[in-house]
């Protein structure tokens, strides 16, 4: 392996564009691949292969015109020669990408879900296991997306935030050290987590997205999101709910011997270098320069509910049932979200049941995330 690993970015949305552009500008070989049914999202760069990365605020990375090596809808082409496969797609798209790349992954490649959301790496591994007969592919996940920003035009992406200190865990955790060795050559600020339970429970989007949106549901729907989601929407009362969910999250962690940082500390760790400050969650969220232009969703049919609930809050609820830790506030948010958007978010969730782990005991679950499903045999 050369000093700069070759990267395949899977996905065609905001995060995938920023990731591909940033890594190309930093000298990696980069391919980007979208599944054929969403080919439209990479149509704009299919010919030029170029993404213009624009910097907003002070994320501490450089912008410029990134000329990618491969832009394709063919996973085989994208994966060929890649050392690291970064899967930068919404949680509900991960399975589709796992299926698409399973036949083409080679021994020694490292797949990193960026981010994993709860259970991402477990689900991905499950698909590979079924399709690829256990190649020696390592699968890991990040706790959150490393960048904050969006695609402003079909060929342009803005980036306003770059998170530091993100945790990474492989599934099983016994692979984490090896994965980190490779991954640190790309992202030097990453840190190892104990297991995918830690990365899953450190996904603090779960703590903020749905609570803030639920408490501003009328405002978002009436004005089509014409207010700043964090700066305006995260008032002291709203922050109480985010903090209550945060406490439930941290309590759940104790049952897995995880000392989880509070949302407040995580925010400061991620964004302190960009000027985030404050002594409580409300203060930090409502003044964080990274969020200066983050408007609220224009509709409630948005990933803040459609993704963060089935891939964040419902798993928390299921861990609560397994561990006996009450999660009333998390459950209240889920219930109201289901009614607001008239979608049964629980039945489609990737919780322990959704991952096929609904029957495991607490000890078995710990064992599986540390040493893989074979450890139970």
């Amino acid at each position: 392996m050369t000093t700069k690993p070759s990267i395949a970015v899977l996905g065609g949305g905001n995060g995938a564009f920023i990731t591909a552009a940033d890594l190309k500008l930093r000298g990696h070989r980069v391919s980007i691949c979208e599944v054929p049914e969403f080919a439209k999202s990479i149509e704009g760069i299919l010919k030029s292969k170029s993404i213009e990365l624009q910097i907003v605020g002070n994320p501490g990375i450089h912008g410029g015109l990134a000329k990618l090596d491969v832009v394709t809808t063919d996973p085989k082409e994208a994966l060929s020669g890649a050392d690291i496969v970064l899967v930068v797609v919404p949680a509900f798209g991960q399975k589709r990408f796992a299926e698409a790349c399973a036949p083409h992954l080679d021994d020694g490649q490292v797949v990193v879900l960026a981010p994993g959301n709860f259970g991402g790496a477990i689900e991905f591994t499950g698909v590979l296991g079924a399709k690829a007969n256990k190649r020696k592919v390592k699968v890991a996940e990040m706790e959150c997306m490393i960048y904050s920003g969006f695609k402003s035009k079909p060929t342009v992406a803005w980036v306003s935030g770059y998170k530091k200190g993100l945790r990474v865990a492989a599934y099983p955790a016994s692979d984490t050290t090896e994965v980190m060795e490779t991954l640190l050559k790309v992202y030097a600020d990453l840190r190892a987590a104990k297991s995918v339970l830690e990365t899953g429970l450190r996904n603090i989007n779960t703590v903020v997205h749905a609570p803030i949106l639920i408490h501003n549901a009328g405002w978002a729907e009436k004005t089509k999101g014409k207010f700043l989601f964090y700066w305006d929407g995260c008032t002291p009362a709203v922050a109480h709910t985010a903090e209550a969910v945060d406490r439930e999250r941290i309590s759940l962690g104790t049952r897995f011997d995880l000392t989880l940082d509070s949302m407040l500390d995580v925010s400061l760790e991620w964004y302190g270098h960009e000027g985030a400050q404050g002594s409580n969650l409300q203060e930090v969220l409502s003044t964080n320069p990274v969020y200066a232009e983050d408007y609220a969703p224009s509709t409630l049919q948005h990933r803040f509910l459609l993704e963060d609930i089935p891939y964040g809050m419902v798993p928390m609820e299921s861990l609560g049932k397994l561990t006996g830790i009450p999660t009333p506030v998390t459950s209240a948010i889920i219930t109201l979200a289901c009614e607001l958007i008239q979608v049964d978010l629980r039945s489609k969730a990737r919780d322990l049941n959704g991952l096929g782990m609904g029957r495991l005991s607490l000890q078995e679950l710990k064992k599986v995330v540390d040493r893989g499903p074979e450890s139970l045999k």
Partner: protein, 403 residues
């Protein structure tokens, strides 16, 4: 010095200025025909807010002897100074003298027929406590309104205080007026509402209802106080909008129209869910209640079109009386502090007792508690505070019928 009515005990004399005297004369002319027909029942109004002012003035105007008392006595000082209450309604504006503005509860409850309690549900227990030693057989207590479980909670205090007098405790589902204080001792009545009424015990409802109708004609009698309590539509309507607009309210200090803008299609879905849970509770006690939209239409609060659509969203969009009502300036408003602990919390407890699931109500109580840093489950009317803990359906129905 002119006396405005019979004064005894520690009641204040009510001096009048020249201007006020002219106004009083006008009132006398306006309501002379009412006076001629009305009985001279004495009604004690307990309270000092919008509703108590409206009732004291309106009932005085109708010719009843009204004695007014508030545990926050200073709230009545403007009435004492002015010598009555200025009532504003469709007929104009006039000063209405009040028979007695009392300083002490014993005077207020002496020689009275009806004790009309018009205070926030939060204060019911304090008033029950204060009244307990002085209530006498033959009197009736009416909580206007009772929220969800007011009569049960009031009766429970009386029982704790070992009140032996047979005093039925009645409640209505809503306040008898849409009204608000617009100045010192000045109240504007927009609508005289038709309430639903029941007594605890239920077997005395008819007798009490006849008396009640003398003061507030046009209501409907329900079989028991569970029925009136489960007709608390304020609780259904208020909590969802507060919880799901909490950020908007706090950030803009309520600078939007609460019902029209704040009740978006999604928020309306949640109101609809709560209403379904409420109706399931009603069904369980054998009460066929109107749905929210039907009720809202019959109360004159929305259009026929909305009624036909059956949509909560449309009903609130097309609600003329509510069109311009602004959202509360903050979250410590009674839409949460009253309608959660004394509105939906008792519904959730009843649900648990009767095997009716109330997930939406529970979620709203949990979130309201968190945003206001108050445990509304504990602060509100629990089965213990309602005096119905451990009862099954049959026992509960027996209790509300027989006391």
């Amino acid at each position: 010095m002119v006396r405005l009515g019979y004064v005894h005990g520690s009641m204040r004399l009510l001096p009048l200025s020249g201007l006020v005297r002219e106004k009083v004369a006008g009132v006398a002319a306006y309501c002379s025909y009412v006076l001629a027909e009305a009985s001279m029942r004495t009604v004690t109004v307990l309270g000092g807010g919008n509703g108590a002012h409206a009732a004291a003035a309106d009932l005085s105007l109708k010719g009843f002897r009204v004695k007014l008392f508030s545990l926050s006595s200073q709230m009545l000082d403007p009435i004492r100074q002015q010598g009555g209450i200025t009532l504003v309604d469709d007929y104009g504006e006039r000063l209405v003298p009040i028979y007695g503005v009392c300083e002490q509860i014993p005077e207020a409850l002496e020689e009275t027929d009806i004790v009309l309690i018009i205070v926030p549900a939060l204060a019911h227990a304090a008033y029950a406590d204060a009244c307990a030693p002085y209530l006498k057989a033959g009197q009736i207590v009416v909580l206007n309104p009772g929220s969800t479980g007011g009569a049960l909670a009031f009766k429970n205090v009386l029982r704790d205080k070992r009140v032996s007098a047979d005093v039925p405790v009645c409640e209505t589902n809503t306040l008898a007026y849409i009204c608000r204080l617009t100045g010192a001792a000045k109240v504007k009545i927009t609508v005289r509402t038709k309430t639903q009424f029941a007594s605890l015990p239920g077997r005395q409802t008819q007798t009490c209802f006849e008396i009640f109708q003398e003061i507030f004609p046009g209501g409907t009698a329900r079989r028991n106080v569970l029925e009136t309590s489960l007709t608390n539509f304020n609780a259904v309507m208020h909590a969802p909008g507060m919880v799901m607009n909490a950020g908007w309210i706090e950030f803009t200090k309520g600078n939007f129209s609460y019902y029209c803008e704040g009740t978006t299609p999604a928020v309306a879905k949640v109101i609809d869910e709560i209403d379904k849970e409420r109706i399931a509770l009603c069904r369980q006690i054998g009460y066929s209640s109107d749905r929210f939209v039907e009720h809202f239409y019959k109360a004159g609060s929305t259009s026929e079109n909305a009624f036909k659509s059956g949509s909560v969203y449309t009903a609130l969009q097309e609600s003329e009386p509510n069109r311009f009502i602004r959202a509360p300036e903050n979250l410590s408003h009674r839409f949460l502090s009253e309608d959660v602990p004394y509105g939906i919390v008792p519904m959730a407890h009843l649900g648990k007792m009767l095997g009716v699931r109330t997930p939406t109500i529970n979620a709203l109580v949990d979130l309201a508690s968190v945003i206001n840093e108050t445990n509304y489950w504990q602060a509100g009317w629990t089965p213990e505070r309602l005096g119905i803990q451990g009862m099954n359906l049959e026992q509960l129905l027996f209790y509300v019928e027989n006391g």
